[in-house]
Symmetry: C2
Subunit: 516 residues, 2 copies
C-alpha cells in the first residue's frame, strides 16, 4: 500500500488519459509519471532519503500534486505549508521537523525569501513558477527537464508520508506524522462510502489542508482527472466545472454558499457536478436548502475529521441531504463512522457515554496518525487507550450519528450544567446589532465557571448588555445566557481565521487552573 | 483494522437489523454479537490464545459466520476445512498447523469422528448440530448458552486471522496464512470497486473457500444481511433470492449456468438480485448471454484471485458484461487490478512482458498472505521479489486487462512455441464423442515437449485418434494439435474436482526433469 500506486495503475491502463488540468496546462498520466520520476531524481540529488521532509508553499496547482507524488516516489515525506501563516510561523514548522527543502510558487516567493533568512533547517529553496528564478533559489522546472527519472523508492505501509502542521489555536503548531497507510486508509473511507467518485474532480479548497489531500488520494485511487484552480473563487470554480465537466469536488460550507448565492450562477452549466463533498463544519439548513435548489442534480456528502485521522472520521451520506432525507434530521449531524473508522463518544474517564449525552468524540482505525513530531507526551495524551481524542464535544444518537456541539475546551461547566459555547454564540449572534461574538467560561466562586460573552457590534449599531441578555433569554435556557457581556472592537484571530479563545480567557484565568 | 469491526459498527447503528437468515433462523446484529462474544468465551476456556487455530468443518450456515467472528473475537485464527476432502487429508491439514479444536456440523459429524481418531493435534471436537451430541464430542450450543461474554481480544492488522489449506493438485496441501489486514484489504477491493454492495447477500458457494470469505467480509464491512443456504442448489438459491430480497451473491460460472437454464426459473421472482459476482473461472460467452437474458436486471461482475491474495487480484466490472459492453471483448478477460492490487505479467526472469505476450501473472498488495504455514522455502519462492507468483499464464492488453490462458505448469513448450493446454482441450472437447480430456506435454527429443491428449469418450461413442486430430486441425494451428492421443476410462481427479495432470505426466517424465 503506497501512495504512488494509483498513478502507476493509471499508467498501466490509460496512460494517455488526462491526469491534470491547470489553466491552459493539461498532462496525461504518462507525462505526470515521467515528471514525477524526474522531480524525484532532483530531490534525491539534493539529499532526500527515507523519511526526509520536503515542504511545499504554494497556491493550488497541478505542480502541487506532482510535488506530493515526487516526494513519495523519492521516499520522503511532504510538509504541506499552511499558506495563511506568517513567515515566522512557517519557519517554526520547518525547523521543528528539520525540513531542508522548500518548494515555492510565484505567490509565495517573497514569503519564502523571508522564511529562508529565518529558518535554521532550510537548505534549498526550489522555485516553481513562471517568472525569472529569484536570487538564492533554484529553478525547479529546469532541474526537472535536466533530470533522468529514478526508480520508485518502494516505500509504503507504515512509512512516513507527510508531516502536517496543525493546532495553531492551542499553542505551538504540532507536526502530525501520517504514513502511506494512514492516508490511503482515510481515502478508502470515501472510496468505499457507497457514494462512488466520478472521473473528474476539482481541487478548489487549499491543497495544504488535509481535506484536499483526502480528495486527492481518493481520486487518485479511482484514477480520476484532477482539475485545479489556484484558490477558491466562485466564478473560477463554476467555469472549471462547466468547461471540464467536473463530477466531484470537496469544499467547505462557506464556499457552497458562495456558489449557491452567486448572481451569475445561472450563466454556467453545472449539471456535470454529481457530488459535492464538504467538510470543516456542519452546513446550515438554510444554506443546504438553497444549495440543493441551486444544484438539483448534485448529491451533497459531509465528511468530518481532523488531520490526526488523515483526516476522515465520519461520513454523512447524500441521502440525508435531500428534501425528503432532511425530514430525518440527520443533516444536523456529522454523519457516522466511515468504513475505516471506529467512533465513540466518551466521558472524562474514557468510558462510553450513553447515547444522547455529550462527551468527547474519540476515533481509531488504520488512519490514526503515527504521532506528533517530536512530541511523545502530547502524542500519548491525545491517543491514550489507542483512541485519538478529537477535542470535539458531541453526542451520538441511537443510529450512530454524531452531533458535534462544541470544542471540548470551549465547553463551559456552570453550576454543574454543561453549556456549549457554540449554542450561546448562535443566540448572541442572531441579535441584529451583533457583528461577531465569542463565548467563554470565566471563573466564578459559586458556579465554578460563569458564561461570559465578548461581543463586537456592527458599525453604527447599538445594543447594551441588558438588551443582548434579553434577546438570549428568549432563545435559550436561562443558565446558558451570558451572565456578563464585554464589548470589544475586534476578536483575536488565528492565521486560519479561527477565534483565539485562549487569548480571551487569559486575563480571567491568570494564576488559576481551568479544568478542560 | 480488525475483522469484527463491521459487526461492532452494525451493532452501534442498527442493532435490531437482521444480521443472518438461515432456514427458519433469523438473528439480529445484537444477537449475533452476543453469541459471538459467548462462543469466544467457550474457545478461550478451551485454551485458545493469540494465533491459535480453530477449524470449521461444515456446510454453509449462519453458525459458520458466527464461528469465524468468534474465533477472531477470541484472538485466534480460523482454519476453514475443505468439505470435499477425505478424513486423511483433513487430519493432515489439522496436524500441519497444530489445530486443537474442530467445530463440526451434522453433515460432517461422522467424518470428524474419523479425523479425531487420526489427527495427532486435535483435542476438542465441538458439535454444532441439531441431533444429540455424538459421543466424544461437546455440544457447542449448550456451551454457548452457559458462557458469559468475553471482551474482544483486540487483535487485528498483521495478526494471523486464518490458515486456509490449498494446493491439493500440486502435492501436499499448504496452509496459507492470512492476517486481518490481508482479508480486509482484499474485501476493500470489492467494496471500493465502484460496483457497490447491496443490503442482502446470499451465501451459496461453499463457505470454506476464500471466495465466500471475500463475500462475507465485504458484506460485513457494509453491514449487509447474510442469507445462507447449506450448499448451492438452484431451487434453494432462487427461493432464497425471492423470499429474502437478495441483492448480491458470489457464485461460480457453473452455478450461474444452472440458474440461467433451470426449467423452473420463471416461477421465481429474482428481480431483487442487483449484482452477481462470479469467480474461479472466466464465464463462457454462451452462458453469459443466456444468464444476462435470464436475469435482465442483474449486473455481472467477475472477481479473479487466489487464496494467497485473500483472494482478490482483479475485477471485471459489470459494464463489460452487458450486450453493448461485450462488443469490447473484455469479458474474455479476468478484468483489471482491484484498487488494492498491483498486477503484472512477467517472464521467467520476473521482468515485465510486453503487452499481449504470455507470461505469469504476479500480484502484490496489502492482501498478500503472511506466508505458507511452516514452509519458508515455498513462501520465499512463491513471493520472490515481493510479488505473489500465481502460477497462471496470461497476457495483459493495452488497457491493463488480464487474459488467463493456462496454468503455467500446464503450458507446453513444443519446438519453441508455447501451447496452452486449455486451448487444445477446448478443441478436443468440442468433438461430440469426447466426454472429457486433458492435454499435457510429454518428452520429445526434437521438440523438447510434444502435445499429448488423454481422452475419455462418451459412453457408446466412438472416435479414433486420427478422427480427433482431424477435428482439432480444423480448429487450431497444426503445432497445437495433439501429436499423440491416449484413450482412458477416466481422468485422475483431486478432491476439489480438478484434473490431476501431474498424475498423467508421471509415467512419461519419470527420471527426467520437466522445466516449468
Amino acid at each position: 500500500m503506497y501512495l504512488t500506486q494509483g498513478l502507476l495503475r493509471a499508467v498501466q491502463r490509460k496512460p494517455e488519459a488526462t491526469a491534470t488540468v491547470c489553466g491552459a496546462r493539461r498532462r496525461t498520466f504518462r507525462q505526470m509519471a515521467d515528471r514525477v520520476a524526474r522531480l524525484a531524481a532532483v530531490l534525491r540529488s539534493l539529499g532526500v532519503a527515507a523519511d526526509d521532509r520536503v515542504a511545499i508553499l504554494s497556491l493550488n496547482s497541478d505542480r502541487y500534486l506532482e510535488a506530493y507524488l515526487a516526494i513519495w516516489w523519492a521516499g520522503g515525506a511532504a510538509n504541506p505549508v499552511n499558506i495563511r501563516w506568517s513567515a515566522a510561523e512557517i519557519a517554526y514548522s520547518l525547523d521543528d521537523c528539520a525540513t531542508q527543502i522548500l518548494i515555492v510558487d510565484d505567490a509565495f516567493a517573497d514569503t519564502a525569501k523571508t522564511v529562508g533568512k529565518t529558518s535554521k533547517a532550510l537548505k534549498h529553496l526550489l522555485y516553481w513558477g513562471e517568472a525569472a528564478t529569484p536570487a538564492g533559489m533554484s529553478g525547479l522546472e529546469a532541474l526537472i527537464d535536466a533530470a533522468e527519472p529514478v526508480a520508485n523508492a518502494d516505500r509504503g505501509g507504515d512509512d512516513l508520508a507527510a508531516v502536517c502542521y496543525t493546532g495553531g489555536t492551542t499553542g505551538f503548531p504540532k507536526g502530525v506524522m501520517l504514513s502511506h497507510a494512514n492516508l490511503i486508509s482515510s481515502a478508502l473511507g470515501v472510496v468505499g462510502s457507497g457514494e462512488s467518485i466520478g472521473p473528474v474532480c476539482l481541487h478548489a479548497a487549499p491543497m495544504f489542508h488535509a481535506a484536499d489531500m483526502l480528495q486527492f488520494i481518493s481520486a487518485l485511487i479511482v484514477e480520476s482527472t484532477h482539475v485545479v484552480i489556484p484558490a477558491f473563487e466562485p466564478l473560477a470554480a463554476m467555469r472549471a466545472i462547466q468547461d471540464e465537466g467536473v463530477t466531484d469536488t470537496l469544499i467547505v460550507p462557506t464556499m457552497i454558499q458562495m456558489l449557491a448565492d452567486h448572481p451569475q450562477r445561472d450563466e454556467f452549466n453545472l449539471t456535470s457536478l454529481q457530488r459535492l463533498f464538504y467538510g470543516a463544519s456542519v452546513i446550515s439548513e438554510a444554506v443546504l436548502v438553497r444549495a440543493t435548489r441551486a444544484l438539483p442534480g448534485t448529491k451533497f456528502i459531509q465528511v468530518y475529521g481532523m488531520t490526526e485521522l488523515s483526516p476522515l472520521i465520519t461520513v454523512l451520506a447524500s441521502c440525508y441531504h435531500t428534501e425528503e432525507g432532511r425530514r430525518l434530521g440527520k443533516h444536523r449531524s456529522a454523519g457516522r463512522a466511515s468504513i475505516m473508522s471506529e467512533v465513540r463518544v466518551v466521558g472524562p474517564d474514557d468510558t462510553e457515554m450513553p447515547r444522547g449525552e455529550v462527551g468527547e468524540v474519540v476515533a481509531r482505525g488504520p488512519q490514526m496518525m503515527l504521532g506528533y513530531w517530536n512530541k511523545p507526551e502530547e502524542t500519548a495524551a491525545a491517543t491514550r487507550g489507542g483512541w485519538m481524542h478529537t477535542g470535539d464535544g458531541a453526542y451520538m444518537d441511537d443510529e450512530g450519528f454524531v452531533y458535534i456541539v462544541d470544542r471540548m475546551k470551549d465547553m463551559i461547566v456552570s453550576g454543574g450544567e454543561n453549556v456549549y459555547s457554540a449554542e450561546v454564540e448562535n443566540a448572541v449572534a442572531s441579535h441584529p446589532a451583533v457583528a461577531s461574538c465569542a463565548v467563554i467560561g470565566i471563573p466564578h466562586d459559586l458556579y465554578g465557571e460563569a458564561v461570559h460573552a465578548v461581543v463586537v457590534l456592527r458599525a453604527g449599531a447599538l445594543a447594551d448588555d441588558e438588551e443582548i441578555r434579553r434577546h438570549c433569554r428568549e432563545r435559550i435556557a436561562g443558565y446558558k445566557c451570558p451572565r456578563s457581556i464585554e464589548f470589544s472592537a475586534a476578536l483575536p484571530m488565528s492565521g486560519a481565521g479561527k477565534i483565539l479563545k485562549r487569548e480571551l480567557r487569559k486575563s480571567y484565568w491568570e494564576g488559576r487552573e481551568r479544568k478542560v
